[in-house]
């Protein structure tokens, strides 16, 4: 190799550069850690960016209360292993306090409610930069976002007024009260994530790999039968059945769907990902199916 980097090494070096810029130029950074594959890769890269120091900033988890137990377990295990500080923002507590009101439907998704809790945690801890695992290939509004994305004092994103972002020279200047969302994995695609997971032997929550689960079909998606999601009585198309499935994304249990798959290793998932005809969010996220601008609207309000 005549001084050539593979595309994966190029992406990893770019991400590390971005994380180090955050460490160098911000006073109170934090990293959003959901326990999903993107945030797992991000945290892994953060340990490399800070090596041989420990990751010097806390990780933040916005807990909807509708988690996959496997993911919470994984979160705690990683936090212990890497000796990082975990800050949890609980959506349930904000509901109990009356700060936010849940739709009076059983199993209603708390996806949108997370924004309030996220912004509250940011403000209480005065974080000025939040590293997130968002990728531009996930969704078309994300495809428009800068690596260093400025949020006003209300946490809002203004897609019409983004600063030019040139080369890898990031303008981190901001006023008090404003903060940045920083996306080191901006240029990674789903396949890159899996290739990196495989190459680095990263651990992930078990639900990413094929397992047996009782599920039912709901508007074309496979939802797990669980405490918040059950087939509707008398709806024939929503018969529960057992299937071999895995998850492509991990989010709120009420709106994250599984895909039928027997892939039980990263290598097998790579093979499937390379030929799949449905996008990651299209296959698995009820939250983005409402409208063309669902993600843009949520992001404007301050969502991840």
């Amino acid at each position: 190799m005549a001084h050539r980097l593979s595309h994966l090494d190029t992406l990893a070096s770019e991400a590390i550069h971005i994380i180090r810029e955050v460490v160098a130029e911000f006073e109170r950074p934090a990293l959003l850690f959901s326990g999903g594959k993107d945030s797992a890769v991000l945290l892994h890269l953060a340990t490399k960016a800070c090596w041989p120091q420990r990751v010097p900033f806390p990780v933040v988890h916005v807990d909807t209360g509708h988690n996959f137990p496997e993911v919470l377990e994984y979160r705690d295990q990683q936090v212990n292993k890497l000796e990082v500080r975990l800050v949890v923002g609980s959506v349930q507590e904000d509901i109990d306090r009356g700060s936010i009101v849940e739709q009076p439907v059983p199993g209603a998704t708390r996806n949108r409610l997370q924004t309030f809790t996220l912004l509250r945690v940011l403000e209480e801890n005065r974080y000025d930069a939040i590293l997130g695992g968002g990728r531009r290939d996930e969704e078309k509004a994300r495809a428009k976002e800068r690596v260093f994305s400025l949020r006003d004092e209300f946490g809002q994103w203004d897609p019409r007024a983004q600063r030019p972002e040139l080369w890898n020279i990031y303008n981190t200047r901001h006023r008090p009260g404003e903060h940045f969302r920083v996306f080191p994995l901006s240029n990674w695609a789903e396949l890159d994530i899996w290739q990196y997971v495989e190459e680095q032997h990263l651990e992930l929550p078990s639900i990413y790999f094929a397992h047996r689960r009782t599920v039912f079909r709901h508007s074309g998606m496979l939802l797990a039968v669980g405490p918040w999601t059950q087939p509707r009585d008398g709806v024939a198309s929503e018969q529960a059945f057992e299937a071999t499935v895995r998850y492509r994304t991990v989010g709120d249990m009420t709106c994250t769907a599984a895909v039928e798959s027997t892939a039980s290793t990263p290598a097998e998932i790579i093979v499937e990902t390379a030929v799949t005809r449905v996008s990651e969010r299209g296959a698995t996220r009820a939250d983005d199916r409402f409208s063309d601008a669902a993600m843009e609207d949520r992001k404007r309000e301050g969502y991840f």
Binding site: S13, P52, R160, P164, W167
Partner: protein, 417 residues
């Protein structure tokens, strides 16, 4: 696999987003659900056919107005290469977003509407691509379906543009007649244009040689972060983290630290996956030296006999990106490699007239999207190279100290006496 980053350019409505949509669609990189979403939007809007531009025009305002406002990044790969696409806006008002998309590109696809030929905006984008040091330009003469796939029309546009491009610095110009809408010469060679003997666009993108675009000669290592762990295991560890901007750095090499001028030897280099014997761009590494030198963020390591320019009086081409015009006498924050300083605009030498490529030295200001040459005086010395030789150490941004907006992209020139 190698990564190729490319951006689109050209006037509004010349078909940039449609071309990207077509490229993704014909190379089977579009997911079914994404295509269905685009079909729904197209039907709802009353379009006669599915508007593939909707695959990248991801903002509500873009879908409503039918134009691109900000850069969209898309990703795709073929068995030969991995691609990062920046689809940029053609509208003059959004030129700064085009500059954003191009700043990281290896190659630019410049589109021209075959009916209209090159416009001022086409020339502006060609000029920006050349200023940004992009070595590979592909002129896509689009909408060939609307000019009867005419060879004469294609040749005429190519002649006209080549005349203009000769006065720019373009190392590699390729011209392809296409129809983004119909897919001619995008992924497969078109049967409509048997007179065209070249490659399809995708074949060209898969094969274009970019390996020698990087500077592997002049070692520059801007220090991004000093790593000094407070831990028992790494008690005396002192590492300098950053990206190798250019050149190759090896264990044992003698290096000089700027600005101090002290030299030392490299004891170790650690990459993301462990120790390395050698590092090269764009690797992120941690470098340790034999001696304890006083080095902090913003300093630079280089070789004793190959140093960058060091100076506070610098000359640069800039793309001006703010609504309020630039005038001599203004002060800004400047960020170059990993250093921040302040910069006073001592003088505006000239404004470039994009159409005539003429230097207007009577200009007293640069307006939004103007390109011009300025002299700056900085509060701290910059360690820099001419942008043409070294993008990483020859580039900077100017930031408005009141609004914190990024107001200029700058490309440094050789120091003049």
């Amino acid at each position: 696999m190698e990564l190729l980053r490319f951006a689109t350019g050209g006037s509004v409505d010349d078909g940039k987003s449609t071309l990207i949509g077509r490229l993704l669609y014909d190379s089977k990189q579009i997911f079914q659900d994404q295509l269905e979403a685009v079909q729904r939007t197209s039907v709802a809007r009353g379009d006669d056919y599915v508007d593939l531009a909707l695959l990248t025009d991801g903002l509500r305002a873009e879908r409503e107005q039918g134009i691109t406002i900000d850069v969209a990044y898309r990703y795709f790969s073929t068995p030969k290469r991995r691609f990062i696409i920046a689809d940029t806006p053609g509208h003059t008002q959004h030129t700064r977003n085009m500059v954003t998309g191009c700043s990281t590109a290896d190659l630019v696809l410049l589109l021209i509407d075959a009916r209209a030929g090159a416009t001022e905006q086409t020339r502006r984008h060609a000029m920006i691509a050349s200023l940004l040091g992009i070595r590979h330009l592909v002129l896509c003469v689009n909408k060939m379906d609307l000019v009867g796939y005419s060879k004469e029309r294609f040749d005429q546009i190519v002649d006209d543009f080549t005349g203009f491009a000769e006065r720019l610095q373009v190392y590699d110009l390729t011209c392809i007649p296409i129809s983004a809408l119909a897919g001619d010469n995008v992924v497969d060679r078109s049967s409509e244009m048997p007179w065209y003997g070249g490659l399809s666009l995708l074949d060209h993108l898969e094969g274009v040689h970019i390996g020698s675009d990087r500077n592997l000669i002049d070692l520059r290592f801007p220090v991004q972060l000093v790593i000094r762990p407070i831990s028992n295991e790494y008690r005396d560890f002192r590492g300098y983290a950053g990206i190798i901007a250019s050149g190759v750095l090896g264990v044992g090499d003698e290096v000089v630290a700027l600005p101090s001028g002290f030299s030392s030897h490299v004891v170790s280099i650690d990459g993301p996956d462990g120790p390395l014997q050698e590092a090269f761009p764009p690797q992120s590494v941690v470098v340790r030296l034999e001696d304890d030198l006083d080095i902090s963020r913003g300093d630079m390591l280089c070789r004793p006999n190959n140093r960058p320019n060091v100076g506070q009086d610098v000359s640069a081409m800039i793309c001006w990106m703010a609504e309020a015009p630039l005038r001599a006498g203004s002060t800004f924050a400047i960020k170059q490699t990993t250093r921040w300083a302040r910069a006073l605009v001592r003088s505006l030498q000239y404004r470039l007239d994009v159409n005539a490529l003429h230097r207007d030295s009577r200009a007293s200001e640069l307006e939004l999207n103007d390109i011009g040459r300025v002299h700056l005086r900085t509060t701290a010395p910059l360690f820099y190279d001419e942008y043409r030789d070294n993008k990483a150490t020859g580039s900077f941004v100017l930031v408005d100290e009141q609004t914190n907006a990024t107001v200029a992209a700058g490309m440094l020139r050789r120091p003049t006496l």
